[in-house]
Subunit: 150 residues, 2 copies
Amino acid sequence: MVTRTRFDDSDCPVARSVDAIGDWWSLLIVRDAFDGSRRFGEFQRSLGVAKNILTARLRSLVAGDVLESVPASDGSAYREYVLTAKGRELFPVIVALRQWGEANFFAPGEPHSQLVDRRRGERLRALEVRSADGRLLDPDDTTVHKVSAE
Amino acid sequence: MVTRTRFDDSDCPVARSVDAIGDWWSLLIVRDAFDGSRRFGEFQRSLGVAKNILTARLRSLVAGDVLESVPASDGSAYREYVLTAKGRELFPVIVALRQWGEANFFAPGEPHSQLVDRRRGERLRALEVRSADGRLLDPDDTTVHKVSAE
DNA sequence: CCCTGCTGGTAGCATGTTGCAACCAGCTTG
DNA sequence: CAAGCTGGTTGCAACATGCTACCAGCAGGG
């Protein structure tokens, strides 16, 4: 078999997530969905992706219950793609990638799109990994357990 | 051109991040690196990836300054791959993906690897997106600004 | 030093996936 | 009712992925 390796049976949640999002177009589609895009054409113009690819990605995101296809809100006969509850839970993932990109791929002052708090127009606080009792954690402060059953 | 589309000149930090990490394997390599893997063979056994693919991914991660290649710590003549500072900053991304996967792809009680606080052995707190002044934010509480120069 | 195995790759080939462009059917608006 | 939008599908060419075989340098025992 030469198909792309799948990770949907891995016991690592990271692997299953990566498998579900499928590819990077999918993540950018989700980003645009958070940003308000709903229609096929909106995604297509925003991303510049080929339409057949977009079709395939939207289908797989719908199949994976990240997006759902609903009747258009403007009353026309077309359809719209909106995030499901599961899809909205990807918000921290997108924010984390955004903050990593901002910190590492832009020169100081270089123009870029920025996610801000709507109420005050300010940048967001950097994401923090914390323990159950609230201590700030570095990678070294954590370890991976195999949980066989609980 | 039929090469995979690149996003390294996009003005969206999410797109540049996606471009830098490149593909699924890369993210799993980074996950393993956080988990303590250092040697080519460790990554290869852990991921089950073909060696030519692993070679290419390691090279691109090194080129992207996510990993660096250093002399082996055991004194042998081989090399090891360790996360750079930039690579360690991916920690929230991995944690976010892990939490999303845990919440959405495992039946209750289904065995899976789990990231825990080393000191207390407890699961981590869920990541929270917060405003600069500390309010908890939903996706709807945020909006994207184009910043032309600042 | 010599043989054997381990480590970390490279080379070649088959297949899958991506990207582009062309095409098309159903809306919908003047 | 005709022209253009919307949301696709199809075909083809190029590239990426996966598998297997191969191979060079190190390591360790005898």
